[in-house]
Every structure is written in C-alpha cells, then in structure tokens.
Symmetry: C2
C-alpha cells in the first residue's frame, strides 16, 4: 500500500481569546462557584466566537484552587469530533505535566470542572484520566432540549460508577447560569449541531425510503 | 492570572513502525477478514513496541476497502489518556479529510474497524464521528479478564443504541486471533494498565484506612 497520503499526526490548539479571557481571572479559584463561573463564561464566549459548542472545562487542583488547564469545545475549530471541552482540558493538563495519569500517587488531587454532565465519550475520558473529583454546574435534560445535541446513552447508575472508581461527583453549582448559556445557543439561527445526529437521521430516512 | 505556564495545544503522532507495517499491506482491504487481520497485527506489534496497549483501529471505505487511516493506542507514547486506538484512527481520518464529519452527505460510507468492542469513551467517540459501520473482532469479557483493563460501564443495549443512530455493528471476525493478542499482553511481566484503575484502587484503600 502507498502510505504517502496517510495522516500520521493530529492535534488541536486553543484559540487566542482563551488566554486573553483567563488573564483577567484571579490566580486562585478558591470555591466551587469560582470554578463554575469561569466555565460558564468560557462556554458562552466559545459559541459566540464560533470555535465550537457552548461547552468548557477546567482541570483544577481541588485543594488549592490552582488552575492547571482550561479547555473549550474545539470540534469546529480543529475538525476533530473528539475535541469536546473535557478532552481538551484533560489533554492540555496532561501535556503540561508530561504524563497521562492525573491521579498519580504523590500528586495533588485534581478535578475536572464542566458546565454540564459529560456526554458518554467524555464520561469515559474523565474515568481514564485519573481525576479524583468531577464538579458540574448541573445535569438533566436541559442541554439536549435547548441545544439539540445528543449526549449519548448513559447508564442510570453513572454516579455510582464514578464512585466505584474513586471519583467524587459534585453537581448543582450555578446551574441556572449554565442553562442560560444553552438557551442562548439554542436561540441562534446559525447554531451548528456537530455530533452526527444529522448523519444518523439521514441514514434512518434512507433506510425507510 | 499568569497564563504563561498553561499549555495551549496538544497532539499525538504515530510511531514510524506503523507506516512500515502498512507498506506491506495490499492497497485494498476487500473483506472483513482482511480488515480485522490488519488490526490484530497492529495491536500485537503496538504492545511489543511499548507504544501503548494491545489495541488498533482503522477507518476504511466500506464499499471499496480503501484504507483512510490507521491508529494504535498511544497512551504511553503520547502521554494523553484519550489517545485510544479508535480516537487516534478517527482523528487521523478527520485530519486527512479536513473535516470532523466522517458521515457527511455525498461522502463514501466509512467504517471503524477495531480489534475489540470499544471502551465507554470510544463508544461515544465512534457515535460522534459520523462512521456508519463498526466492525469488531469480538466483544465479551476476555479483554478485561486477560489484560486487566477497565472497559467502563456500558449499557446493556449498546448495540441498539448504535442502530438507533444509523450505525451498523458487525462482530465476531477472527475473534480467536484477537483474544490471542490480549492473552500475550496479559502474560507479559511488564504490562502497563494505564487506565487509572490503580488510582481508583488507591483512593478506595485510603478511604477505608
């Protein structure tokens, strides 16, 4: 086989506006509210900037509130369907540390902060990353109802499954503000729903035709 | 906040041996067996080369058998916990096409070929990528039993959930050969189980201490 046309590397880069936004944030995100306030703001700006969907994530040292990384959904900017905010934030933290295991013995306890319950892909990505805590603005049907995104088939016992792996879940912090971001996204005429539900719907239509 | 220490990009690169291995493969992978034979071979070599776990994946044009991308698990080589073989193969295909949607209207029908049922993260990654078919050597408890990897909490109706999104599942092709790769990995004294189960076990131990 001629292998010259095969891609051999891939990657993604944060848009410049993220660093500009973070420059105005205090050095330490002391409380859960401080952390969620920041992901809500990044999520709102991400869709306004057309970099990706209304989702953002942080990796933070739980005890000190020190920010290790910030990510936003980059599906549209990077052209990679796996670059959800959680994968971006986890990958940037691992790049900074030079190690895949964010829960390695002797390290600070790290948490993933997200503006809603992760989709099924990011649910797994959080599990495999080594984070010890997952801090969410909220969970529930609002994100799918307001934005049209498919979050995927999650198990009913998703919280217990995290607990069994030593990962604590905290949810319901500035929840209303998070919902407002999804509402604003859903009200846009040009919102892109990029998770292949369109493709699935088309396939269903052609099968039944 | 001082943002100078934050990572702003991440990425992964295939080891050179993958292209060397592919150079000896026919231009077209005509049958399901041809496709699975190649993922089994790449998975075996990946763990022998210590690039990552015993997992490989391809993106192939279902109709023609043309290979669009090949990926292997790169967690150890890249230091990124999300670089499972499926995410790597999907990302390389999207990089080559310059588009996140592998199921865009008018394109060839693309499939993801893997040497076992995806973990919960890659289950979601496959859903969001736009592939229309998932071809697996097999599924079942062997991979966790033989290698020690945690595949995560999947729903019982995982096949139906793919079907509802227009993605066909085919499984049970050269299954025994796939199991042999996992067995060989499990028999190594120095096999690394990199999915943070160690961290979870440690957390559980310290909670009960």
């Amino acid at each position: 086989m001629d292998t010259s046309a095969l891609a051999t590397s891939f990657g993604a880069r944060l848009p410049d506006w993220v660093a500009a936004e973070l420059a105005g944030v205090p050095e330490v995100l002391a409380t859960d509210e401080d952390r969620i306030r920041l992901v809500n703001r990044l999520a709102e700006r991400n869709h306004r900037e057309n970099t990706g969907g209304p989702f953002a994530a942080l990796v933070v040292e739980s005890g000190t509130g020190r920010l290790l990384s910030a990510g936003v959904n980059l599906v549209l900017a990077s052209g990679l369907s796996s670059t959800h905010a959680e994968v971006v934030a986890l990958s940037l933290a691992q790049t900074r540390l030079g190690a895949w295991d964010l829960g390695a013995p002797g390290g600070p306890g790290l948490e993933l902060v997200v503006n809603w319950r992760p989709c099924v892909m990011c649910y797994g990505a959080a599990m495999w990353s080594g984070v010890r805590r997952l801090l969410l603005a909220g969970d529930g049907p609002e994100v799918e109802a307001l934005t049209g995104f498919d979050e995927g088939p999650m198990r009913e016992d998703w919280v217990e499954q995290f607990d069994a792996r030593g990962i604590e879940i905290v949810r319901g912090v500035l929840r209303d503000e998070a919902v407002e971001v999804f509402r604003a996204y859903g009200e846009r005429d040009d919102a892109v729903v990029y998770n292949a539900r369109g493709a699935a719907a088309e396939a269903t239509a052609s099968r039944s035709a």
